[in-house]
Amino acid sequence: MVFTVDCDVHVNDTPGALAPYCDLPWRHSLEDLDGANYPYLQIPGFAPNFRLDPPIRGMHPYRSVNTAREMREELTEIGVDVGILFPDHLLLFAAIPHPEYALFLSRAYNRWLLDRWLRDEPGLYGALLACPQDPEGSARDIEEFAREDRIVAIYLPTAGVNPLWGHRRYDPIFAAAEAADLPVVLHSVTIVSPVFPCQLEQFENHFARQMLGHSFAMMANLVSIMHTGVPARFPNLRIVFTEAGIAWAPYMKWRLDKYYHEYRRMVPVLERRPSEYMSERIWVSTQPIEEPDDPSHLVETIRHIGEDRVVFASDWPHHDFDHPRALLRLPMPQDLKRKIMGENALRVFTRIPAPSAVGADSEERA
């Protein structure tokens, strides 16, 4: 068995579940949203999105996980030792316009996460939801919640965020993450919204929007944080890009370097090539892992990004999740598998104890 840290699993964060954890007056809003049978990733005032497509028969079912115990059992079933929890519906959190409500909602989610998901079950850790609508308020919350040792990361909601995460208005969030020694994790989802990556409504089905939504979000935010010098200005900040696969990363790394040669004087805040910052403090998580006909091409891609830079993610329980075997069956040496499946993650999410310290748990579950 390879010790496996899963950098992206999702909890079912319904308005009704969060309502008791939300302060007034906005608790009433969550109470009033409770119980309605909204589809996945489409709740007005909570997960705002346009779902444009008619259903087509034969699609696979929607899955969600509702309790920590269920999550522990299901992760163990697929071979995951440690899971880092992210929301379902609040993947669309950045699209909520109201800054005060957004801050209350992020606080409610973080309280609920700590209380309902991170108390009892072994091997479950959490990413705090940051609030881009109120960076100062969010930074104060991060400082407070980051004292909890089951919190191992700051989740930067990326779908619909405007402006992108490199904007200086978010500096308080990066400063708080750096001060807490917690990595920030960018996570997007397909969204039809007037912000970058915009105009996805012109595509006539979700296949097309899914192609571009996640990957453009990651590429655009990588460029955004580079061009304002986030990795230079926060020299101890660790940054993780999730849910767009990995093959976009070498392309962007090489392209950033190519134009850094030409335009360096526009971005003097970067004192080294972008690839050097990427090689030291930026990680990419695997899901949805590309599946080329020749799997050695994927191993080669991993080497282009860096053997220490790639971390496993399943995205459980979502429709395009990857079973750990999608990585374990690749033609690569065992030591590289150990790095991708767990060892690299321990260097990013430094609060997660190494397996020797959690050995009792692993054996019990094995």
Partner: protein, 118 residues
Amino acid sequence: MAEHVIGTIDDFPPGSSRLVKVRNVEIGVFNVGGTLYALPNICPHQAGPLCEGTVNGTMICNAATEWKHQWVRDGEFLTCPWHGIEFEIATGRALANPRLRVRQYPISVDQGLVKITL
């Protein structure tokens, strides 16, 4: 290799899909238009529980349909519940990838008894 009786023909009427167990191997048995097929309950993609998925038709759109969408061949395709990959039950072929194929177990009817060879 041996033949295993899994039931009578009446247990597998046309349009039915059932999961059976033969020597601890989970097998999906599908009756498509009067013909029986037996597929392992393991998706060749990421080993999901393929045969627990739904059976449906599929959508096509090509020159023969004058580039209009048509829903065709109801009951002939199995969708994996994990990643939604469609397999043609009769051939085991994944519609989206000619390299992806689920194998078939030999299945036969003999004097009203349904037998799988395993």
